[in-house]
């Protein structure tokens, strides 16, 4: 009976989709059977390279086999419904969440996790695993249900029961830092597919660098599920254009085409032809018309997608949101709220589900249980393969190990350049390029690029080529004018393997375009380095659209991100040292377009304190006045200090290169730099004064710019906006 009702519902869905009938209950007379469940659909395309796998009976999935020929369709039905009801039950218990997507996407995701993907549930961080990204992150109960069934320790029954509760492993959106098995943090729409592009880029890059004719040591797929909401976001178009340009053939995205978003039918705002758009972008596109029960269609689509190796594939899977719910399926009401007790009951009846809440039927449990030994075997196989690889290619293996483990080569930081006051002055963007090039030679996982401003951001790695479709071993990424996509792709790269250190670049003001991705880097502990040049009105003539003002403040306010504004070469190198070291915290470097002198008193070591004394002619920690500057204004502070000293004042000049690092220092150190008894403090920074109150205190003064900038040569702007030595001297005198 259960199975009959289920098949009825499936049939109903096939009939009613895209029609006006929002109720999926069906007359009892119609029964649909899944066809040919035992047929073997796929052949290994790379039998040579995977032949070692076939010797081990436990290893079901060879490199490109994608179906489980041993699973009958009844069990698939049951497993799919298990996923649905785990989601329904968890959302119901939490009285909060998004049941609609898991109910609609259960079939495709069942096939992915049970038949297609290669992973080791007991080691979610196994390097060569296939990656899965739920870009439509609100449907996270789908992923938790899958991880639970697959045997991940991170999602046990009690975790499902504490969905969305304080301290649980099952937060309201997928968070890589909470739940092993979740690759990236999603929820904000479009981010996930962009991360997936980054993951696929990482794989293609590593494969090109490390695979050998006799050893395909890097070889995994990246899968993603994206919804209508993701499709509407501009970032998705940006990254999907790049994915095709780069020929990321091992990126396979499922588009959950359910025609429903929060405001109702997508017809009210989204009537473009998505298939054609993706074709225009250069993707291979497949349409699975029956995503609710067309298991074989889904399998065939995945097979086809894998056969297309030079393009990413979009598998549009038409589904019913909230599939199985007789009164809420195919409507926005099932998107983001619990079904409610009555409708849960009705859905149980409709799908013929006799089990208790959170119950996994024994045969389903038993079916999925094989993933634990199989996953262990996959990893063991790969480990054996790597051992052989290491013997034959010791140098490559060492580099790859560094990328896999995140262990940086000993002494890497010695590659960073240092400067003396006699070294020629230069723009920090140029000094940054010296660091980038030095680091890339030393750090195997260091790579990056700019959003079409490489020659302005000074980000080209001279020793390496471009990462392109035909040259994926290159380490210069060419993002085009796609800041948001760039940021989110770098998150994917950073979270692919701990030793990846991606950097990306644009003008500092255009962090506004990519702020959502940067925030997720901070949240998800992706240690991306943001090379942000043209960091103030100092850029001059391009004018206020291009001149950051509030950006330093806005990042200082953001949790878990370091905002550096180096003043010269040593500080730039110091910023890179910390940015590279702190792999769980992204770093923003605000760099000047204009030339700056190398200042006395700066050093790489000092930068590690965040704020420090650059020069001081006072004694007993009692200067008459403290002048605090950052970046290009540290020079002004230093000059003002000289002026004041000429007049007999005791002046301390402090660089405040990174507030977050200063905050971390012990109180005694802070007191040694900013003694609480000294209230005469002046800050100078060519940006908003917002937040400086904390540094200069209630009686200090902050020189900055609290309006937009203007279009004129830089020198003129500094003068007109009063960012001058004279202004600092005058402010200081008024306080002494």
């Amino acid at each position: 009976m259960a199975s009959l009702a289920f098949s009825q519902a499936l049939l109903s869905r096939a009939i009613s989709h895209n029609g006006s009938n929002k109720n999926v209950s069906v007359p009892a007379s119609s029964v649909l059977k899944s066809t040919s469940p035992r047929t073997t659909f796929f052949h290994s395309q790379r039998s040579a390279s995977t032949s070692s796998h076939s010797l081990r009976p436990l290893v079901r999935a060879a490199a490109v086999e994608t179906t489980d020929a041993t699973t009958d369709s009844t069990l698939v039905d049951k497993s799919v419904n298990t996923i649905r009801f785990l989601a329904i039950d968890a959302v119901e218990k939490a009285k909060s969440g998004h049941p609609g997507l898991p109910m609609g996407c259960a079939p495709m995701s069942h096939i992915l996790y049970d038949e297609v993907m290669r992973y080791n549930p007991k080691n979610p961080y196994w390097f060569n695993r296939d990656r899965f990204v739920l870009s439509a992150g609100h449907g996270c109960m789908l992923q938790y249900a899958l991880l639970h069934l697959a045997g991940y320790d991170s999602v046990r029954e009690e975790d499902l029961k504490s969905f969305r509760q304080w301290g649980s492993k099952t937060p309201g959106h997928p968070e890589n830092f909470e739940t092993p098995g979740v690759e990236v943090t999603t929820g904000p729409l479009g981010q996930g597919i962009a991360n997936a592009v980054g993951l696929a880029l990482a794989e293609k890059h590593l494969a090109a660098r490390f695979n050998k004719p006799d050893s395909e040591i890097v070889d995994h797929y990246t899968y993603s599920i994206i919804g209508d909401g993701c499709q509407m976001e501009g970032i998705t178009n940006e990254v999907c254009s790049l994915a095709a340009h780069w020929g990321l053939g091992k990126l396979i995205a499922f588009y959950d085409d359910n025609h429903i978003s929060i405001d109702g039918d997508t017809e009210i705002a989204f009537t473009e032809n998505v298939d054609k758009r993706f074709e225009a972008l250069g993707w291979h596109v497949i349409w699975v018309k029956n995503g609710n029960n067309g298991y074989d269609e889904i399998r065939a689509a995945i097979k086809e997608a894998k056969a297309v190796t030079n393009k990413p594939t979009l598998i549009k899977v038409t589904t019913t949101i909230g599939y199985g719910s007789p009164n809420k399926a195919n409507s926005y009401s099932v998107h983001g709220a619990a079904l409610g007790e009555k409708e849960v009951e009705a859905t149980r009846n409709n799908l013929g589900w006799p089990y208790e809440p959170f119950q996994v039927p024994e045969d389903v449990k038993s079916h999925w249980s094989r993933h634990t030994p199989e996953g262990a075997a996959l990893e063991a196989d790969w480990n054996a393969k790597f051992t052989a690889y290491e013997k034959k290619y010791p140098e490559e293996a060492e580099e790859l190990k560094s990328i896999i483990s995140g262990d940086l080569p000993a002494g890497w930081e010695k590659a960073l350049p240092t400067y003396t006051p006699e070294s020629p002055g230069d723009a920090t963007r140029n000094l940054s390029q010296q660091c980038l090039n030095a680091l890339a030679k030393t750090l195997p996982g260091f790579l990056g690029g700019s959003a079409d401003l490489a020659s302005s951001n000074m980000t080209l790695l001279k020793a390496f080529g471009d990462f392109q479709n035909a040259t994926p071993e290159g380490r210069n990424l060419r993002f085009g004018v796609r800041e948001h996509g760039m940021g989110a792709i770098c998150n994917g790269v950073a979270l692919h393997s701990p030793g990846f250190i991606p950097y990306c670049a644009t003008f500092f003001v255009f962090t506004d375009y990519m702020r959502a991705a940067m925030r997720i880097a901070a949240l998800s502990e992706a240690g991306v380095i943001y090379v942000m040049t043209h960091d103030s009105i100092g850029l001059g003539e391009d004018g206020p659209t291009h001149q950051p003002v509030e950006h330093l403040s806005s990042f200082r306010a953001m949790p878990n991100i370091m905002m550096f504004r180096p003043a010269d070469g040593n500080e730039t190198a110091g910023a890179y040292k910390i940015a590279v070291t702190r792999r769980n915290t992204p770093s923003v470097l605000a760099l000047s377009r204009q030339k700056l002198p190398q200042l006395p008193g700066t050093s790489i070591e000092n930068v590690e304190r965040g704020g420090y004394t650059v020069s001081d002619n006072s004694t007993g920690n009692k200067p008459d006045v403290i002048l605090v500057g950052t970046g290009s204004e540290l020079e002004i502070a230093a000059k003002a200090g000289e002026e004041l000293r000429k007049e007999g004042k005791n002046v301390r000049v402090v660089s405040f290169v990174c507030w977050e690092l200063f905050d971390e220092q012990p109180d005694a150190y802070k007191e040694s730099v900013l003694p609480s008894d000294v209230s005469a403090r002046v800050s100078i920074e060519a940006g908003s004064t917002f937040g400086w109150g904390k540094v200069v205190g209630g009686k200090g003064k902050s020189i900055g710019i609290d309006s937009f900038g203007a279009s004129a040569p830089a020198g003129k702007l500094y003068e007109e906006f009063g960012i001058t030595v004279e202004a600092v001297v005058a402010a200081a005198k008024s306080l002494i």
Copy 2:
């Protein structure tokens, strides 16, 4: 000779584009002539409605006539070269700027401004003018040259000569607030085309509301030039999807297809099929293969675009960046730097240009001079038409006048709801909806919507329908999940006419997606209202990806934007009152998801002070402690105040609903709220404490959240993060 060399160059361009030959100088033997310059290409499609125009000989351009049949091709060549050299000369003098785009886009823009567009140079704000947006804003010298030739007083010869200088009318990117004739502020790529979509939306909406069978009182086109950079930006895809969905037939975008961006050939990052993508989005697409001298092709394309009334049109115009420069054309070197003296000379020789820098040949000047009388006549005609309209349709005319002038109906603010402490408590997002609905009934230009969160942001206007292709009179905008596009579209709407008051909505955290557009609203003085709900960890289970933390600080740091965080109904209404009143400053309203009580002491009037005393049991302006709260935490501050008063303390509770407004108050008022003698101050806000130092002073304490939030019910989160009455009481006691 001049004309011969010019034709040679044109031919060379036709031959060399897309080839490897980057040099456009040509053997002297080939000459190309523009064909049929005197043919009349276009017929009026609306002769009935425009017949009154034909009576006036001065009025050249009837509604849809698009060529000037009286201009011979030599003069067109000369005019086009005038545009080129004005750009070359201005950039050269400034030693800074972007000559490449103006040199390539001169032909299409000449035809637009000289033959197609209807405008009145002596009144750049004439309501029914055609709008032009240079989305590739770096090419602004193109627009300045056009405005100069067309007779706009804003760009005289001396303005061209002070390009990019302090105080000039010709800044480094187009700025509507500096240069009458510039509609919006562009430069950050993709913003302009999004603004253009907003302008076209505004036209379609007004036409639907106000046009009558006998009087097409609203009837203009919106033109835009977008470059490769714009095309790569995700925002462009977002808004172009919407433009097609809305059927904006009078939006005509020229895509300057020159295959060059800053990093070189677009081949390195941009290989999608743009034509096909736009077709997939639902646009009509035309390709002008020879944008360098194919005047007739350009004219025919515009004719065709106008004939397609149910879709926006993309005219892809293949051009050569830096056309005419023998050594720099078709390369990135001509994109963003002055040509240099030698190359300017070479270009003069190549294009046969004997004139002095900044010189406009007399015949060109004379040819363009007709736009002043013609423009005046166009406006006079329209004024006469409006007078007739007003007589016949007085009510509609009054509404339209309000939109055109920005004069709000008298007493509009009385529509705002007020509350007493006895009024039922509610989430401020719901209270906001009461305001939105009240205002929309009173203010003719009030309209807006959400990025697919209408039912969460509570933004639906119940008395109005949806703005859709078939119902453009509706005032509910359905943006889909396209926050960035939404923001920039609203900028276009706001800048279309002073009486438009657009609002847009999403979750507060997703301002990160649209921050670039919000910044341009602030810079360009577009009074958009941002309805940002779910404003803190108070949203609960959705977790840290959805919980804003640093966002309040990040907007408080931004110039010319008001950041409101109302605590209850009166404060919400007060925020709307100011947001509507201040037409040149955008407003962000951070609104709660959770229910809040109506507090004693709040009022609409108080909100106008930004910060004010809600309750106080002290005398002589000497409270023992001042508790400062905003939004949902004002209740906590008030409760803590009660607790402390029970213990005999003199406590002032202050609402800090809008910092920017408080900053504007006279010192005496500020002192009356935050007396400098009282250093015992505690702030509480469920967000970053960054910036609060300014309010609580060096000795005060700030209770807030300086980490990311978490996924759990709201009450639990407040408890765990310590945003509680107990925490405020304890902090206060530690200071007293």
